[in-house]
């Protein structure tokens, strides 16, 4: 099951798509299935998706470190973002294909997952190669939910809402007894012996309750890992100030129109995606909607050989030694770089890159607030 207690990654909207109701367990399955068939996802990966995955991901790590994972589209997006930061290389289209491929082939309900989505993937490596021991506890969501009731009755007063301790009780997330535990193996004997402080009597728990509690505590540990949580709220800006910046200092209106290309942008993208999209238009969006789907903005290049006509096309590759492009006829052309070969490349996103040195954080939040009003 993909949701974590308190940090639900299945939105109510996803559930409403197929609101069959029924008992809790069925509803959850339906919500997950809804994610897989919702417009945001695709039942079959598109053509070339597997190839893109092989090219982009296998450049740095083994395929099975990825394919042993089971994640939601949003979680895969988060992983892909983090891989890009770590140097993953690919085009806009390739990253979009990778997201489609992973979301459809390795979603939460796909067979063969090692450890299910509740096991901490962290950086998008499989259970055997992710941080922590290979035999780490795999969370049983139902048991963790039962354990949460035990926790609320017996532990919460001293150890706190998320087991992070307080004046009266130890931090259980950081407890070596908990970290060494598997399914109650060390928590059980500890509780049966009584608390070391002896200020409270040992809780009288059955073995089943201890195992449930173990799932709850490990879940709290996993919720501190880097990929566990999401953006909370970034609608803190002033829409009017955002509009003024859009038309004024930011010069956004030079190229964009809120009734043209940006019409209804607030309905199409969620605030995190809007923020990421205008800051890093060549990069990958971070929101639940629209992530990975940013339109490609090709760089145009003109190559002027020492003799002959200049060739203009879409830049495919440029390094110190060669340049490659696709010309207007669709032909692939490459050239060895020499001092006689003149190259003029025009990145249409340069104005966005230049703004990174100019924005204040307030500007950024105001723009998000403004664009979000364009429903």
């Amino acid at each position: 099951m993909i949701h974590r207690n308190g940090y639900n990654s299945v939105t109510p909207a996803d559930c409403k798509l197929v609101s069959l109701g029924g008992n809790l367990g069925i509803r959850k399955s339906v919500c997950v299935a809804a994610l897989l068939v919702s417009p945001a996802a695709i039942a079959q990966p598109p053509a070339g998706a597997r190839e893109a995955f092989q090219k982009v991901c296998a450049a740095c790590h083994a395929i099975e470190t990825v394919t042993s994972q089971r994640r939601t589209r949003a979680q895969w997006q988060e992983n892909i973002n983090s891989m890009i930061e770590r140097g993953a290389k690919g085009t806009q289209e390739e990253f979009a294909l990778v997201l489609d491929y992973l979301s459809t082939e390795y979603g939460p309900m796909s067979p063969g997952g090692r450890g299910a989505p509740a096991a901490p993937g962290g950086r998008g490596r499989g259970a055997a190669f992710s941080p922590g021991p290979a035999d780490k506890q795999v969370i049983d969501e139902e048991a963790a939910n039962r354990g949460r009731k035990v926790y609320a009755a017996e532990c919460i007063t001293c150890h706190g809402t998320h087991a992070r301790g307080g004046d009266r009780g130890a931090d259980l997330v950081r407890s070596e007894i908990v970290l060494h535990d598997r399914y109650g193996s060390t928590i059980g004997p500890f509780l049966k012996k009584g608390h070391p402080t002896q200020t409270t009597p040992a809780a009288q728990l059955t073995d089943a309750q201890i195992q449930d509690l173990s799932h709850t505590l490990h879940q709290e540990v996993y919720n501190t890992l880097r990929a566990a949580l999401q953006i909370q709220n970034l609608l803190t800006g002033d829409p009017a100030a955002g509009a003024a910046y859009f038309d004024g200092a930011g010069k956004c209106s030079t190229c964009h129109s809120t009734t043209g290309d940006l019409a209804h942008i607030g309905a199409r993208l969620d605030p995190p995606a809007i923020q990421q999209r205008f800051l890093f238009p060549g990069g990958r969006g971070g929101g639940r909607r629209g992530g990975g789907g940013a339109p490609s903005t090709p760089v145009m290049v003109t190559v002027r050989p020492a003799s002959g006509e200049p060739i203009t096309g879409t830049l495919l590759h440029l390094d110190d030694f060669s340049v490659a492009l696709r010309d207007s006829a669709g032909e692939y052309r490459s050239f060895k770089r020499t001092s006689a070969l003149k190259i003029v490349a025009n990145d249409p996103l340069q104005a966005h890159h230049d703004l990174l040195d100019q924005y204040t954080d307030k500007n950024i939040h105001d723009i998000v607030a403004y664009l979000e009003t364009l429903k």
Binding site: A62, P133, A134, N223, T224, R226, D319, L356, D361
Partner: protein, 516 residues
């Protein structure tokens, strides 16, 4: 094998003045200084265009993140007596340094751990040492790769893992620990080379209130869980008998609300006595870091004249975008300067440490920060060239947005992250006397590799397009390249055998040997 031990010791004795021995590469950095500058000049500016491929070794046959298809060699190979020794997570190889033929391959059966990379081996006498992702120090027989023993160096259940190349100093095998997932304390250890027994352990964060550094933490609870992992092989000055240990970022990584203060000795350069593990001095590169900017970049040792005075120096291009030069006997700061433009500090304090701007700490609604989480640079080794007097580093100028995900009063683990980004990559040549960038060579397609400089007036690097490139160290102009089909993933090395100078570099899961 006494000869080899003697050779290693001789190498150690040499380093204060010079460079790696020409016929071997016996430590992670070639010598103890971390300069990665070779006195070899048979390959030089005048003949570099005829440098060609001598051999290829593909380290396959290993599954998963440890190698095989898609695996990555980030280790710097050691070369001793004509054999190269290198690792990937769970694997060690011995390969003929003249021909690239495999001598042996050792595979460790893993119990998990982060397989993000392994930096290589340490060698003492006829024994080899390396760390495994599941927290073991393994000793192998150099001649056949058979295991002698393995000893635990950390607790996998606490999400520690091993990745550092052990450092050998006399009868000390120095090991570090990796892992920035859970809130655990970092430490560095010394082990007996014969038995693996612990000689000493030094925690990078104070263990009780009143200890030095504890004044920079709000509570014992916070500092005992305060991180500061020892990801990278230290450097060593035999005359001062000090090792220079670069330490990792504090925990919790992003959400630092419950650890107000500078959080010593995280994100610092710390000078320790290798015999006792006692701290001599520290310098903090990133006080109260909240951006995952560890300071685990090589502290490079060299001597230079500063204001008319000959000084023993240590320099670091740190992940936070700052370049530091310190007196390596005292830790006193001499130079602090940005080597890429950043936007997160309010200048430097009286000790030379940057002052973090609270507005550029991660925020609920996001803060646009440069550099990004990857940093102005990262673990790939830099080089210092005594001929040009310049310090060279693979650098990035990059932006991302840092978010707080967990707004509670006691966030743990990460509690936030950064997202998105735009950036550009380059080689920066820095004058360590001033901290000024002498020249910049921008890569047009990314790139972040380890570096090597040689007396042949050459600087070796990798770009983002799979090219292994030789640059002019005076200007940054490219002089030669070979496309390896994969970006350079380690620090290149060089050595001479039978009168031939070799260059060895890794790209992905493959090791390439070049020669005239």
């Amino acid at each position: 094998m006494k000869a080899l031990a003697a050779l290693l010791l001789a190498g150690a004795a040499l380093i204060a003045q010079s460079a790696p021995p020409v016929n071997s590469w016996p430590t992670y950095n070639g010598d103890y200084s971390g300069r990665r500058h070779s006195p070899l000049a048979k390959i030089n500016q005048s003949n570099i265009r005829s440098l060609g491929l001598a051999w290829v070794y593909r380290a396959n046959g290993a599954l998963g993140g440890g190698g095989g298809f898609g695996g990555r060699i980030s280790a710097t190979p050691l070369q001793v007596n004509g054999v190269l020794y290198f690792t990937m997570p769970d694997h060690a190889w011995a390969v003929d340094a003249r021909t690239g033929r495999e001598v042996w391959h050792y595979q460790w059966t893993s119990h998990g751990g982060d397989h993000i990379g392994n930096r290589g081996v340490g060698i003492y006498g006829n024994w080899l040492y390396f760390e495994t992702p599941d927290c073991n120090l393994v000793s192998l027989n150099l001649k056949d790769g058979l295991e002698r023993w393995h000893k635990p160096i950390c607790d996998l259940d606490q999400y520690y893992f091993g990745s550092m190349a052990p450092l050998v100093i006399r009868n000390h095998i120095i090991t570090g620990v990796s892992g920035d997932d859970l809130d655990r304390p970092g430490y560095i250890e010394s082990h007996d080379p014969e038995t693996g027994d612990l000689q000493w352990r030094w925690y990078t964060v104070p263990q009780k209130m009143g200890d030095p550094g504890s004044e920079s933490w709000p509570s014992e609870e916070a500092m005992k869980h305060g991180g500061g992992m020892t990801w990278l092989t230290p450097t060593y000055d035999p005359d001062l008998n000090l090792i220079y240990v670069p330490t990792g970022n504090p925990q919790p990584v992003i959400a630092g609300k419950a650890r107000p203060g500078a959080n010593l000795f995280t994100a610092s350069i710390v000078a320790l006595n290798p015999d006792s593990g006692k701290m001599q001095w520290y310098f903090q590169s990133s006080p109260h870091d909240t951006h995952d900017w560890d300071a685990t970049q090589t502290p490079v040792l060299f001597d230079a004249e500063i204001a008319g005075q000959k000084r023993k120096l240590v320099a670091q291009a740190s992940r936070n975008g700052y370049f530091f030069v310190l007196d390596r006997a005292t830790g006193k700061n001499i130079v602090s300067a940005e080597y890429v433009k950043t936007n997160w500090s309010k200048g430097v304090d009286s000790k030379g440490s940057p002052i973090p701007n609270p507005a550029k700490e991660p925020q609920l609604d996001g803060a646009l920060v440069s550099p990004n989480q990857g940093g102005g640079t990262n673990w790939p080794p830099p080089t210092y060239n005594p001929d040009t007097g310049l310090f060279y580093v693979s650098a990035s100028r990059a932006f991302s947005v840092y978010y707080i995900y967990d707004p509670s009063d006691k966030p743990e683990g990460w509690g936030g992250n950064d997202r998105g980004g735009w950036g550009e990559s380059m080689i920066q040549a820095i004058d360590p006397k001033t901290g000024k960038v002498k020249w910049t060579h921008k890569w047009l397609d990314g790139g972040r590799s380890g570096l090597l400089s040689t007396a042949g007036k050459l600087l070796f690097a990798g770009d983002g397009s799979g090219n292994f490139v030789a640059l002019d160290p005076a200007s940054g102009n490219p002089l030669w390249h070979a496309n390896l089909g994969n970006s350079v993933t380690n620090g290149p090395i060089t050595y001479e055998l039978d009168g031939t100078q070799y260059l060895v570099v890794a790209a992905g899961d493959t090791l390439f040997g070049f020669a005239m």
